[in-house]
Amino acid sequence: MTSASSLISVLFANPAVILFVGAALAALFPDSRAGLRRPLMLVFIFFSGSQLYRLGLGEYGALSLFGESLVTLRVDRLARIFATVFHIAAALNIVYAWNERDRAQTFASLAYPAAALGGVLAGDLITLFIWWEIAAITSVFLVWAPGTRATFLSGMRYLAIQILSGVLLLAGIALIWGETGSLAFSEIGLRDPSGAVKLSGLVLLLAFGIKAAFPLLHNWVQDAYPKSTISGTIVLSIFTTKLAVYSLARAFPGTEELIYIGVVMTFFPIFFALIENDLRKVLCYSINNQVGFMVCAIGLGAINGAAGYAFGNIIFEGLLFMALSAVMYRTGTSKATELGGIYKTMPLTMIMCVVGALSISAFPGTLGFVTKGLIIDGAAEQHLFFVWLALLFASAGVLEHAGIKIPYFTFFAHDSGKRPKEAPWHMQAAMAISAILCIGVGFYPDPLYALMPDPAAMADYHPYSLYHIAEQAQLLLWAVLAFALLVVFKLYPAEVPSTNLDTDWLYRVPGRAILRWAAGVTGVLWDYCWKLYTERVDVFRSRIYAVHGPEGRLARSWPIGSMALWTAVVLGAVLAIAFFG
């Protein structure tokens, strides 16, 4: 067994534990000192980040548990790029919500990223499971933060789904341990060498798939995330799905099924995003679509593409969420029908939103361009024509809902008459840093490429080759032209306030009805059984009462005459038996 002192030294060498302790310490500050919580959190993010790079690549934090050796901390190139961008995102979110005073929300906004970081740095499956569950539990506080009945119900649904993923992960771990005797978190794969699907791989893929929001398992994102607070939604949008992307890249690189799962993921959200009125929900569909690109890249074995795009997406999708949330902070709504014309009074937020929109659409000169090309080229290099076409189609779709719809309906379109103040300084600061990263890394991607899981494969990749620029410019500019013409000819559909049904309908309406019916039937059956039982008991009791009660036969005082008669009868019977027997 590991001694207590070495356990403590193992724990505190872990950047994720450092972040978690920072979150806990900050939460201990009394509300009168709430202003100190976020500066303290930034200090801990700095400590954690410097610890990550001070350690360097390698395996640390070996622990022994019931004879199994665990590697609680592994920093390799794949883990490091995710860990790095998690630090950047956590810090940006802390700055963005600088004046947030709510204790639970403040705690969760660092404890939850800490848990996701812990999962990324886990070298064994048990450690991964522990962080996986901590991430589920800490993040639900962000869903619950607004404190209404709708958010409570949504949070419960969210928690149920997240815990289901955790239970499947645990089952998968048990199966893997039974098969291989190893708890290492490394390549697991879906099939065994003979090509048959392994149950362990399938269960684990499902556990990761729920968190990555695979098609049909995706809807918890749109259900829970937009119900959180202004800043809570931004924090939520980043970590869970990217931890799942990391886990898939770790355990299932080159798994062919993921190519097609990823393609479907990039496809269907495009249409839901098109008709959605709540722009925060549009961005949630965008998360599905973006994670689809990453899942596809993992299936193609383009791990650089998956990790690089995850890095980029966290920055530019985060920027879009921040800009939209800033508008919501000032106007109280994120609905397209209630916004528009905001550019007049929030021009800086508008500019930063447009930078995020250009970046997610992968215009040359942005972070999206230098990372997305890796995935689309990956499909081309494997000569998967239809996958390649599908990814190009999905790119046009991204341009539609994230590149155009978000900035257009928020800041332009029809004038809502709202004239809000520009976003507060801390929101602007976080957005400005994100925007600078979008453009800076877009023009000079070398530091990001040096951070890639497989830097050798990056040596002959040149995003700014002339044909790349020409292809992308054609694709995007002609798509924008299509948009402009649709608007000019009034063919672009107007936004309408509505609720659009998605898979969550199944458990929110018929599922709920079945549950209520089942509860009702159980209630009636129980009443019937109880009545049956109590009736029997009542009859039995009344019989005993009839015999033994004060009025009962056995309680009667019997007359001497009847006694003498019964004695004569019994004696007569004895005589008859003796005579004839």
């Binding site: 919500a97 004046n99 709510d102 709708a150 607070t229 202004i230 800043s231 249409f271 839901f272 098109l274 008709i275 902070y329 000032r330 106007t331 109280g332 014309g341 007049k344 081309a380 290099e381 000569h383 024509f385 390649w388 190009l392 189609f393 046009a396 779709g397 539609e400 332009f412 008459g417 709202k418 004239r419 809000p420 507060p424 002339l466 044909y467 620029i469 020409a470 410019a473 054609q474 694709l475 500019l477 002609w478 798509a479 924008v480 032209l481 299509a482 948009f483 402009a484 649709l486 063919l491 672009y492 559909p493 309408v496 306030p497 509505s498 609720t499 659009n500 049904l501 998605d502 709920r512």
Partner: protein, 96 residues
């Protein structure tokens, strides 16, 4: 809880720069111009892929056509999804 909205709402008839006809026309003109330039680049050998993976890449304006048509299809076809899944805004409020 963070929320800071209220005092800044007032009806606005004031036109911003993006609402002027001149800007809208200018934007469209510039967009058409750069889109044509991008399409023209496809005809210049320096901007063509040396070893295309697929035959369609040899068409100089393939990406322009594909982007234009696919975007239009997404919008024109996708909006009909509303007829299937669209419900009243208070749909879930009434059921939960």
């Amino acid at each position: 809880m963070m929320s800071a909205h209220g005092p800044d709402h007032h009806g606005g008839d004031d036109k911003g720069w993006a609402d002027s006809k001149a800007f809208r026309r200018g934007f469209l003109a510039v967009l058409i111009l750069v889109a044509l330039i991008a399409a023209a680049l496809g005809f210049i050998p320096a901007f063509q892929k040396e070893h295309p993976h697929f035959d369609v890449e040899k068409i100089p304006v393939f990406f322009a056509l594909y982007g234009f048509v696919m975007f239009a299809l997404i919008v024109l076809i996708g909006q009909h999804l509303r007829k299937i899944v669209g419900r009243d805004e208070r749909y879930y409020d009434e059921r939960e």
